[in-house]
């Protein structure tokens, strides 16, 4: 029945595998009207630097590239028999409901698929023991969900037993599964795709990568990020006002960013009242005359207030060092959270230095990730979701929809989860942050 086409041609230039798995040859004419179909050989070059392109041309090598996303003229799945399911996993992110809504509407209005199920609370909704009945989704039930943040389906963290999830999909006769989530979720999606393949079940598993940190590689943008950066605006403004409201006021704003400081960096540039921007990519020391604490003391001396934005993954080595040694007055081990850790160290240091001050701590994560996607970010969600449906109906599987060089692409999950995207500290983004904030505590190459 199904006849998985697995290409496994490692690209010779990058050592990466850009190839997309397919369940079999598509044979059914697409019901889409008025559309310009995307040919299967349409691909988006991975490189845009002409020096690389010239070199490759000279060497007679093909340019590594992503398969272009878009509606296909022939389908693998018959819309009449298609039963689709949608699952959202991990933390909230602006745009989840936009993606859900567009998947439902595209299946319904463009492909005529009306059996669409919402899996409740992430992968656990595929485990019968949790007794979480899937909900039937149609254009009416999703009509206004884009106005709300969060996910109408609920979410959960962590993976579940793959075999059991595949059995549930089989029992529900799902042949198209959309997984919206981050790294872990996508690895789970791969496991599902492979287990389904092993059982010869023709299930397309297509992901929409979700990371509010914007740190998924091989895609230059992820949904929700634009809205998240925007949402930090009024919060940082309040932090600024609080810092100026008292003598030597310090506002410490902890934002998301476990491995990558994209939110912290963009938030600091979008609202240029930030004086320190601490990200995971740039190590720093606290102590000593060149350390962060002494720099902060100098800043207070100069300006009598400071705003600090810290990504949750910044300065982990400081916490690791401190964990064994530093205890508070009562002998308690200090907090592991970099935000609270910093707050305590700053207070301790300034007290030692007899510098009067007041620290305000801001942890706005839920207020940043819980808002609805807006404007062009909402449009981006819509386009991602449309392409996810096109890819799935054409029989592609074990892939996510990405965006590269201005076009939507198909990215193998193995590639999307291979490594994290991080800030290039020699690039314009970080150079701009350095230009806009205090940097005397950083070891910079001259």
């Amino acid at each position: 029945m199904t006849n998985h086409i697995i290409t496994d041609k490692m690209d010779s230039v990058t050592g990466l595998d850009f190839s997309i798995a397919r369940l079999g040859e598509p044979a059914l004419p697409s019901p889409l009207r008025h559309a310009k179909f995307t040919e299967d050989d349409r691909r988006v070059a991975y490189f845009s630097d002409t020096r690389v392109l010239t070199e490759l041309a000279a060497a007679g090598k093909a340019v590594p590239s992503f398969e272009a996303a878009g509606p296909r003229a022939t389908l693998f799945h018959d819309p009449a028999w298609t039963r689709a399911a949608i699952v959202t996993c991990g933390g909230l992110c602006p745009g989840l409901n936009n993606v859900i809504k567009t998947i439902v509407n595209t299946l319904y209005f463009q492909y005529g698929v009306d059996n669409v199920f919402g899996i409740k609370y992430g992968y656990r909704g595929l485990i019968p023991a949790f007794k979480l009945e899937p909900v039937h989704l149609n254009p009416d039930t999703v009509d206004t969900i884009h106005d709300d943040g969060g996910s109408m389906l609920g979410s959960s963290r962590g993976n579940q037993d793959v075999e059991e999830m595949v059995r549930t999909l089989d029992r529900l006769r799902i042949n198209v599964l959309f997984c919206i989530g981050g790294d872990g979720t996508l690895r789970g999606a791969t496991a599902i795709a492979q287990a389904a393949r092993a059982k010869n079940l023709p299930i397309s598993v297509v992901g929409v990568p979700k990371t509010i940190d914007n740190d998924i590689d091989f895609t230059d943008r992820t949904f929700g990020f634009e809205t998240a950066v925007h949402a930090t605006g009024p919060i940082i403004t309040c932090a600024h006002m609080e810092s100026k409201g008292v003598y030597n006021g310090i506002s410490l704003v902890r934002v998301m960013g476990r491995d990558s400081g994209f939110i912290a960096a963009n938030a600091s540039l979008a609202n240029p009242v930030v004086n320190y921007c601490l990200v995971p990519e740039v190590p720093f020391e606290l102590e000593g005359p060149d350390g962060f604490l002494a720099s902060l003391a100098r800043r207070l001396e100069r300006s009598h207030h400071a705003v600090i934005v810290v990504a949750e993954g910044a300065g982990q080595h400081l916490i690791a060092e401190a964990a064994n040694t530093v205890k508070d007055a009562s002998g308690n081990v200090l907090h592991k959270d970099i935000g609270l850790f910093l707050k305590e160290r700053i207070a301790e240091y300034l007290k030692q230095q007899k510098i009067e001050h007041a620290i305000r701590y801001f942890d706005p994560s839920y207020l940043v990730r819980g808002v609805p996607a807006e404007g062009t970010d909402a449009v981006f969600c819509l386009h991602l979701a449309e392409n996810a449906v096109h890819a799935a109906m054409s029989g592609r599987t074990d892939m996510v929809v990405g965006h590269w060089h201005g076009r939507f692409t198909h990215v193998p999950i193995s590639l999307a989860t291979a490594r994290r995207r991080t800030i290039d500290t020699t690039g314009q983004l970080w150079q701009s942050v350095l230009g806009a904030t205090v940097k005397d505590y950083l070891k910079l190459e001259s």
Copy 2:
């Protein structure tokens, strides 16, 4: 020179003293043009209940009343010689800059007073040792400050040595002092007014009461409250989304309200997704089948999510009880903050009950108090400040500007600080909260 007029006629009905102190007889014609001056005998009845009014009339007693605010036809202070100062104390509150701006503009444009000084960082700006030079304020320097939250002057908590502050005022030749702050600040203002009187210094000390909690008595409204309630809206919406985003999600939102739950109650009604509203005025128990924790467990069983709004002053007796006995797994004493205390107790209880859940904690105080005043709240700030200037120029002192029965009033500081305004739990506000939230854990009279 100055000739303090202190009336001390306790009102025979209420036992309260509504009388306003004056520095002396006003004798200078007001420079205000086009204004309808307020006569000195214009007063606003304290009671509006006709049964009380009828009784008083029958008994031949005068109706207790506030002096009406407004511009006076004759002034005590000569604008040509007036040197005014403004000080903001305590925590931030929306509208501080609006009040500062209007005081400056009213003095400048209406009275022709151009010696106006801003005292930096609260009362400490009046203590020379802190080396905080007052800033000169004029319409240009305050032109756009209303667009910002916070206080352009900075603030500080706590009082300073009264004698020293009065010496500073004397040295700066300040004869009009505007104190914008809460209870403590106003008591400090009284102390300054009395010390000045003792030294025969003709200084009008006029307050604008600041309490984001809206809990100052003898005034039916304080500035910033409307904006603060409005600012809780998107935060509670995010809390709702987070609670629905996970299985048995609980969002716990801690809002301001040390003695009075006005913000909590209004926020819960304005954004009716709140399931529990906990305020200082209404005691509750945590434990037992009729306690809050069991009620929450039942709510989760029914709906699988819950939003709790808790005023910072709610449930203090629980903390007091717990402080001696409850320790966490590591033997640490639990947090004193009701928000964190509740968070820990809920988690502990639900774990004991083996009820899977996820708690999100929100402490949006700085995001609520740090925003600029908006709309009609900004207009209210403006009117308060205008009346503060009118009162000061007429020689009134040791008073604040209030609002009663739709009119601005003069309220003696002793009255304004005599007691806190709290929610009447038999009144419509609280009855509406009861109608909109879960109440099975409250002991209600039937």
Copy 3:
């Protein structure tokens, strides 16, 4: 059956009739629990000026007063047999959905009334010929409507045949009708109440006054006004930016206010970048050296930009004069709208004066009235609606819920529609506007 109690005692002091009509003696115990019932003799004094109160006391006269709103211990309508209907009429206003939602919820949860009907598109929904079936309302159908502006029921302008409307109510066996609307709507409500009485139909007709202009008399506040003023904020900010963006830029912002300039005045004070505030209450001339046009030219000369806020009802006499005489270059009669009229006259005048300029016209009415009620305005809607339900269930009719001296009140419709509330041009609101804007074109008493 029904036994209308119509009191008609004109108040001897004011010549006004404060008395509330009732369908008959309430006899059923209220099902409300935990409530403090409002006694029927509880009344709110109309006057708060102690000079008036003293005079009345001396003369032995009763203080004119409003009946206090609130839940009554005994009901006239039996909840078990009650069938309620809600109708919204006239233009949109923030808070309509909040009022609808709370009426439904209060009837349902507090009184146990579950037969509640929504009349579609205003009074026309009561006319069978329009074929607009009433919709059944319950807590589920109104659960999220407060998040939306507008009215979930739709609205329409104008009254319909009273006899036919009453026949429809009778046929639907409605005994409680809630009319949310302005002057015209309330007059229609009176007509319905009286026609029902004439037919001996026990229908309580209770209104919630809706006027975004805040111009209904005998109530110190109407719902939606606070939100509307707030909504003008970003619009006036844009107008300011546009005016400064070009040489001699003029931004002309037309806001609502047919007879009263409350929105214009408050918007001008809340966002103090407004240079001219034109309201119906204050006549002005365009022409001549003391006219508005010459003043505007002087302002441009000084500052090279100007922001004008004009209430739709301002300067009507200018239009009336112009209507007969002024035609544009093509011979067309000029616009009747004051906004467009002013725009054309300003352009013409400045062209004549050879003053280069650019005018931007803003008509943000729909953006001001179409937003959802927010914060304390939403709470005000809720309290109005609760009291409307309490009043109706107690058998009161031909009245609206008002607000006076900090309490909710019952106001006879005849009183509420007797006259418009307008700005007192000698009071603080207008004096503040004069202080904040250009006034050299106004004839002011010195």
Copy 4:
């Protein structure tokens, strides 16, 4: 002295000239620290489609490409002698102040240039007759301008005498000129660059393309667009509420887009309550059974409300046709504006068809273009401005900063103004609009 390097090598594949003019060989070491300099041979491929790239490689042809933007290791202009000027022209656009601020700060802090002048009111500020003194700009004067919409310098439309402008620049000894504006402005910039060259004046003229319509070609993004789309959100929501608030309500929202419907299309997708989206790229007919008017009537019949978004440049042929023939009842020629034209035609048609209805017209242009840039759009402004400074200091001229394939680029003005970018009606953006709106009046290929 100056030695203009003009390359004029037409690209053989595209027939386009991607080459960037330079004033001469850069010879001064850059003072930038910590930066990774961009090599001059770094280029960004114009094509990303691998089929094209393969073809070019096979034919041995170079890939057409843009010069990459970024800081250069050697400068042409000596910072010590540099006098820079900034001019903003044309209509307002979110982000103008961000661009101004970053140009000033980058010159000042990174290059040590402190002679920066702001030209007032566009190019007219370079004409002495207008007596508009340039303002001196430094980090203090631009510190908070990003919080405001508009342009702190003011703007004007139209070009001025080129010779005179160059004389002014020469007299002010400006050697670096930043022109922020659209098509016309950039053509003016080219004229200035060429006139300067003719006079052998070493003036770098570098543009930042401004088009709120996002319709400048050879750059995939322009500043302000993201914010503009976002700003349409609440307006379209109000339009939706108004349309549902009355029977057969029609809300007609006119948005910017003279030649390109990007705002209309994105706004319609971001806020999916829009039923008709009319753009310049897609012609349509009004009349006949397949026309827009009949489609609208059918929509009203089905749903009793409709929201229409129309770009200002849509349906121009309809106006052209109507201009000669259609007059209103009074014989007046109908409006040329497509928004007002449509409003009138719709009203006329529905009246003829005896379909009761109500039309609300929204023209929110000023509210969309007058807001400050926000979030990632503000960051984009910052990066554009930094690169404009880098380009100018390196001696490049007659170019703008663009963005292509995720990198900032140098684009010759001749290329940037050669043609407009328009919506590809076969691409995903428009296909998504078709999927989300009524399309029965469009002639679509099946």
